[in-house]
Symmetry: C4
Subunit: 275 residues, 4 copies
Amino acid sequence: METLTAAILPQTIRQRPADSHKGTYGRIVLIGGNDNFGGAIIMASAAAVYSGAGLVTTVTAKSNQTSLHDRVPEAIFADITDVSLMVSLITAADTIVIGPGLGTTNQSRATLTTAFENIQADQRVIIDGSAITLVATDQLSLPTAHLIFTPHQMEWQRLSGIAIADQTPQRNRQVVDELHGIVVLKSHHTEIYTATETYRNPLGTPAQATGGMGDTLAGMVGGFVAQFANESQAVLAAVYSHSAIAEELATSQYVVLPHQIITEIPRFMKTHSEK
Amino acid sequence: METLTAAILPQTIRQRPADSHKGTYGRIVLIGGNDNFGGAIIMASAAAVYSGAGLVTTVTAKSNQTSLHDRVPEAIFADITDVSLMVSLITAADTIVIGPGLGTTNQSRATLTTAFENIQADQRVIIDGSAITLVATDQLSLPTAHLIFTPHQMEWQRLSGIAIADQTPQRNRQVVDELHGIVVLKSHHTEIYTATETYRNPLGTPAQATGGMGDTLAGMVGGFVAQFANESQAVLAAVYSHSAIAEELATSQYVVLPHQIITEIPRFMKTHSEK
Amino acid sequence: METLTAAILPQTIRQRPADSHKGTYGRIVLIGGNDNFGGAIIMASAAAVYSGAGLVTTVTAKSNQTSLHDRVPEAIFADITDVSLMVSLITAADTIVIGPGLGTTNQSRATLTTAFENIQADQRVIIDGSAITLVATDQLSLPTAHLIFTPHQMEWQRLSGIAIADQTPQRNRQVVDELHGIVVLKSHHTEIYTATETYRNPLGTPAQATGGMGDTLAGMVGGFVAQFANESQAVLAAVYSHSAIAEELATSQYVVLPHQIITEIPRFMKTHSEK
Amino acid sequence: METLTAAILPQTIRQRPADSHKGTYGRIVLIGGNDNFGGAIIMASAAAVYSGAGLVTTVTAKSNQTSLHDRVPEAIFADITDVSLMVSLITAADTIVIGPGLGTTNQSRATLTTAFENIQADQRVIIDGSAITLVATDQLSLPTAHLIFTPHQMEWQRLSGIAIADQTPQRNRQVVDELHGIVVLKSHHTEIYTATETYRNPLGTPAQATGGMGDTLAGMVGGFVAQFANESQAVLAAVYSHSAIAEELATSQYVVLPHQIITEIPRFMKTHSEK
């Protein structure tokens, strides 16, 4: 297992070409946020915007429209019950993040199934939170695409069938290989399983142990993957950045809140981008 | 009566173990906020989040969903009229805060009664604001649990039957002993009655004399109690922190607003945490 | 005519007694904000809260509930169509601000009339914006109370019958005496007519010439009047503070926005309070 | 083609006369923002307010009312389905911005047509985003007025019939002359075509390549045009300021978000205003 270092950052966070436009940095659709968990998809969407994704659309419950625009006016809103709109948005996207605050109701299930049916092979798809749980409990067949899973340990247990106590790199790797995707296994020190390699994130602070951290990470992974060509590097850099910002904030805060991490992303990325 | 000092802070605000997750810091449910008093439960919820509670859910009127997510995307929303959802949230919680902005209508009464019926003996329950008034006026029987009351002097008069002018430590103690709970009696210099001891908070500034201060304190008490094992210490540290932050802000402000106190909590706790 | 100076500030903004509570600083009700002009009553309410009023309730259109709580969680919301609630709030108030964003529809008129009918002689009432226009156009009889009018020049023309070009201190004074109230005549250099004296505010910057400035001033006048015993002084100090903050901000800003003034009030008041 | 320099700023951003009021700085109406693209009109409106426009009204979908007031309480709200209200607002306005987030549905088309029918010859009209697309696809006849178009390259292709690869200054000029308006052709280095001259903006950073940048520029152009007499200069100064602020922020940020540019406008304008 390799240990991630800050070297991943300038390798990934490249100088933007002068002659570029928002289309250059990806068209990302985030799907989630039911009537209870609106904050989750708002934080994920904000994280994608602040990471520099070119065009961000959020498919969520109508009751989250106002709070989304309030906190992230840069994101476009789409009503999650408007299936044909969601399908056309998915079709036009480069990157899809599905799961933050999606819930596990029948409505959530229907949304996830429809999304999976419309995903194309060249798209990058981050599967997070309740979407992972639904895949596991309903044994949904996964779409053929560039899949990235971001489970915490309990979600990984559900998805992989490996009990938390038994989640060793060796056993995890077996399931990862079957999934044909990248797995970000979130824990005290997050592990990242790419197709060819396993990485350990040496950073992370208990000040981060608060609700919404995972949603924020999912949005950052989406934002990085949307704009950086090397998918594995993008995931690694997003995970590393998320923890590094948290550690910086934790030097002066007892708890670090997700929205505080989001605010710091543009400055952090600049500091650690290719020179 | 003992006078609180800053020594309570590092004793209570412990270093977080590296290998911890949001579950380690408590699952807290806040119940309150009708169609008029939404700000109260929003400030209480924000105070719990900024104090470091692991997972915060807010049970409130539907009309407060958007403003809750706007100000505290980290909090989960639940509609206060969805009784079965509230019951399942209470059942799964470690800590419950009930009262901020709850009101005293029949709907408020029904909510409070249902909450009390579903509280379990090992839970920590902060009873604040209108919930105290309702307990007093309706002579509701209190649940068996770790109860913490946070009345101001008029609410204490209603609950204890002791007129404000007669609220001496001796007379208060008698009623406290009957209540089988901790009482935070808010005034110019707040008094805290634990099972065995009475404390006086030497801090506090008239710059704090503004609406929402009590709601913020209730949320902080909830947040501290949710994550720190020693319940009495947690209450004392929350009360002390709330006033200490207000005093700091009052050196440069004529009035200190509740939301400004909330914003300072993570930094203040870090400064005064166990080294 | 006397020219206001900063001396009015420490005379008015007194040290708060240590043993005080939110009730000491007034119970203020602000009435206004229809479906179009919600921002006006939100800014007025925020100005009252940041000025240090003890307990602030905002009576406004239901469609403004969320944005009010979002920007000012410290304010309590009441639906302007709930007449009996409004009446009970007025009855319990010390200070009433009516007019910001109220509009001039039949609904506005009905609200204003009901408010006037329920105002008591010992209350302080700030009449602003559309309320002034309605008083003028409908020739409403004014309640007996401590009245404070805050017209701009066109509103004063409507109320006084004096064309803007003819608004000299002498002519204004005649109408002021008939009104039995204080008049704050807003212009490039605002004039304040108390019962016995006329003052000229020497401050003010064209950077302030933007929508919402007057609503903010009305809220500040309400906040000052609610907590400071000398009514005339309170009005003078509010007017002076509003312009002085604007001038400070204008040293580094081409335009000064109302919400930026509001944010500065607590710090400004501290700097200029009684030592 | 002339290259813009900072010299345009003090020539345009004049000292405000002491004896001025909000009416001096223009009455601007912004029209756009359907149920999906509310963020666009909110950012445009905020940009107009922060640029110093005197009185700002936003005509948008009802579902955007709360988020508009949350982010810009200084703006007045009008429901886009209330046609007679929109017409009276247009009639009373000096400057109209139409297009940000308007969409291209039948509702959008009807709004645009009605707006065009009610525009007067002496008004300044910024036509942006979907409004440009609708003009092109529906071959709407343009109103006689002071027109300013702010297309990106694809929108210009639709409007002018010139494919992006063929958009040379010479070919663009021909169409501009037929349009009888100013054209701001947004790209890596934006070009501005006035009646008599063509300018190239030397500023601009790929950190700006993110959704909402164009909406923000449209609002700034509106805000500048509303208050500065020389229309061409106002457009040039707005374009230059927008990019200059972005470049400043990009020295410490990897991506620059539209709302961050908006916040900086008052300070930037002060620094570069007439001394």
